[in-house]
Symmetry: C2
Subunit: 339 residues, 2 copies
C-alpha cells in the first residue's frame, strides 16, 4: 500500500495544525483564502485522499444512502423488472451530485437490516416497491430519513413518497380499448389482494368499464406474476377464452410475455387479442407489434425521490411530501379497432 497521507502530513509539511487543514478541506470559513489554497494545493500534490471512514466515525455521518430492495437477492429484482435498473441509475446520479454514495441492498431479514443500517452507519434510505413492517420499525428506531417509492401502505404518512397515478393511468388504458370498440376486456396483474399497486390499477380499469357501461364479471379478472416467463405460460390459459378481445395488463414484462405466448401458438396480436401494458420499459417500443402502454417518467421520479430525501436529511423537521406522478398513454400497435 502506498503509505496513506493524512491531514497530519499536510499540516506538518506546511508547519500548521491538522485542524486548519481540516477547516480548509471542509470549506469552513475560518481560514484565509490564501492559506486555504495553499493547503488544497499541497494536499493535491501529496496525493491526499480523504478517509471517509474516519470522517464518518467522527461526524456520525457516512454519506451513504441505502437503496433497499425487498427481495431475496439483487438479481431477482433486476430480472423481474427492468424498471429497477433504470430507476437506480437515475437516482444514483442525483445523490452523487451531493457527494453521497449508493449502497444497493436486497434485505429481507429484520436482523440483517438492523445490523446493516446501524452497523454501516447509513444516513438515509430509499425503499422501493413494498414496505415491510420491520423496515418501518427500524427506521423509526433510528430516526432515519426515508423516502418511499411506489409504496402504498395505508400508514405511510410519516415518510415522503413518490408514486404514480396508477388508477388514472389504467383508467386511460381501459378507456382506450373501449374507444376502439372492445366490450370484453380482461385485466391481469399480480394478486390484487396483496399488491396495492395492482389493486389501484385494477380499480382504474373497473371505473372505466363502469363509466362506459361495459359489463364486468369476475371471470375477466386474472392473476399472474408480473414476469415475462409467467406471462408466456399464462397466455395458453387466456387463449381459450374466446370471448375476450382485449386485455389490460398491469406490467409490460407480463404483457410482452403474453404476446410471446400467443405467438408460440400462432395467434396474431392484435388481431386475436388487443393488449395494453404498463410501464413503458425499453423493450415495449421494440417488440413486434410494439406495445401500447402507460408510461411513467422514471427520470423525474428518481430526481423527485432524491429531492425529498435530501430535504429530510438536511432538515429532519421538514414536512412530509407526497407526489403522485401523472402517467401518459403511449399508443402503439398492440391494439386493434373492432366494431
Amino acid at each position: 500500500m502506498a503509505k496513506k497521507v493524512t491531514i497530519y502530513d499536510i499540516a506538518k509539511k506546511l508547519g500548521i495544525t491538522p485542524a486548519t487543514v481540516s477547516y480548509a478541506l471542509n470549506n469552513v470559513p475560518k481560514v484565509s483564502p490564501e492559506m486555504r489554497k495553499k493547503i488544497l494545493d499541497t494536499a493535491m500534490k501529496m496525493g491526499y485522499v480523504r478517509n471517509y471512514t474516519a470522517v464518518s466515525l467522527s461526524t456520525g455521518k457516512s454519506k451513504i444512502i441505502a437503496l433497499l430492495l425487498p427481495f431475496k437477492d439483487i438479481s431477482e429484482a433486476f430480472l423481474q423488472n427492468p424498471f429497477y435498473g433504470e430507476f437506480i441509475g437515475f437516482f444514483e446520479k442525483n445523490i452523487k451530485k451531493e457527494g453521497y454514495d449508493l449502497f444497493i441492498q436486497p434485505l429481507y431479514d429484520e436482523k440483517e437490516l438492523e445490523l446493516w443500517l446501524v452497523g454501516r452507519g447509513v444516513d438515509a434510505a430509499v425503499v422501493l416497491g413494498t414496505f415491510p413492517d420491520f423496515y418501518e420499525k427500524s427506521f423509526k428506531n433510528h430516526n432515519m430519513p426515508v423516502v418511499l417509492v411506489d409504496v402504498y401502505n395505508a400508514d405511510n404518512k410519516d415518510y415522503s413518497s413518490v408514486c404514480i397515478a396508477d388508477f388514472e393511468g389504467e383508467f386511460r388504458a381501459a378507456e382506450y380499448l373501449i374507444q376502439n370498440g372492445h366490450k370484453r376486456i380482461a385485466f391481469v396483474g399480480a394478486d390484487i389482494n396483496n399488491s396495492i399497486v395492482d389493486k389501484r390499477r385494477y380499480d382504474g380499469y373497473r371505473k372505466a368499464l363502469a363509466d362506459y357501461k361495459i359489463p364486468y364479471d369476475d371471470s375477466l379478472l386474472f392473476k399472474c406474476n408480473p414476469t415475462f416467463a409467467d406471462g408466456v405460460e399464462f397466455a395458453s390459459k387466456l387463449i381459450k377464452r374466446k370471448d375476450i378481445t382485449a386485455l389490460v395488463c398491469a406490467a409490460d414484462t407480463l404483457a410482452i410475455g403474453i404476446m410471446n405466448g400467443y405467438r408460440m401458438q400462432n395467434k396474431q396480436i392484435p388481431e386475436c387479442l388487443s393488449i395494453v401494458g404498463f410501464d413503458d420499459i425499453q423493450s415495449s417500443s421494440l417488440v413486434y407489434p410494439s406495445l401500447t402502454t402507460v408510461k411513467q417518467d422514471i427520470e423525474s421520479k428518481a430526481s423527485l425521490a432524491a429531492k425529498f430525501l435530501f430535504e429530510k436529511i438536511n432538515n429532519p423537521e421538514s414536512s412530509i411530501r407526497t407526489v403522485t406522478m401523472e402517467l401518459k398513454l403511449i399508443i402503439r400497435d398492440s391494439v386493434s379497432k373492432i366494431n
Copy 2:
C-alpha cells in the same frame, strides 16, 4: 436516534473491560466460553450493534468489496445486458457468506476511482468486462486484491481471472450451423478490433468455417452494438443479404433484437434466417422461436470469482489463478436444416 450501545456499555454492565468484550465479539480464543456467552447475551439484550465504521478505522479493513462496472452509470450496464444483474446477484451471495458487503459502482473516471477506493477503504474489487488502464494503476498503487471477470487484456497476468471459452463456444455454434447444411454463415458482434471478447468469438467462428472448408469473405462480418435496440435496426440491413442463410451472433440480446427486426418485416425465423446466440439469458428460452445459443454457467462463474478473490484477500501471496470456463451449446428452435 436510540442511543447507541457500545462495547463500553456492555463492559460496564458486566464489570469488565471493553477489550474483553471485543475479544468475545471477535471470537478471539482468549476469553472463557462462559464469559463469552455472558457477553454475547447481554450484548444482544442491550441491542448492541457492531459499528463497522469504528472497526474499519481501527483495523484498516472495511469488509467492503467493490464491484466495478466500466460504464457511465449503473443502468447502462443493467439495461445493456441482463448478464450483469444475474452475476451480481450470485456474487453477492458468495461474499455475504464471508461477512462482506458489495458496493456496486459505475466508475469511469480516474479521480473518482481513487477517491472511492481509498476514501471508502474498499478491501477488494471485482472488475467486469473491460479493464481500463487507470484501474490497473490504482490497484497496483494500493495493492488491491482484484479478480477480473470476462477481461481479456493481454497483460492481466497479475490478477486472478475467470473468463469463458469464447473461441470454443463460438466454434461449436458455427459448427452446428454447418452441420445443418448452411454454407453462407455470417457473424455479427461488437467491433472485433475493440472488443477482445467478440474477437475471440469471431476467431472461433472462422476456425469452424476453415475446418469445414466453408468459404468466408469479409462481407460476412457485421458489426453491431450488442443491444436489443441495435439488433432490431441491424435486421433491416441483414435482410437484404439474400445469400446469407445463417447467423452467428455474439450476444443473445443482439440475437433477440434481430429476431424481432425480422418479424417486423414479416420474415420468419428460422426459415429466412437461422440464428444462434451467445449467453443464454433468461429470455432466450422464452422468445419465439426459442433461441439456440451458447450457454455459460453464471452461478459457477460468480462463485469461482468470489473464491479467487478471497484467496487473494486472505493471502496476498497466493498465486494467480486463471480459469476459462467451458461453454455448452443449447439447441432450441432458431436453426433450420437446409441442404
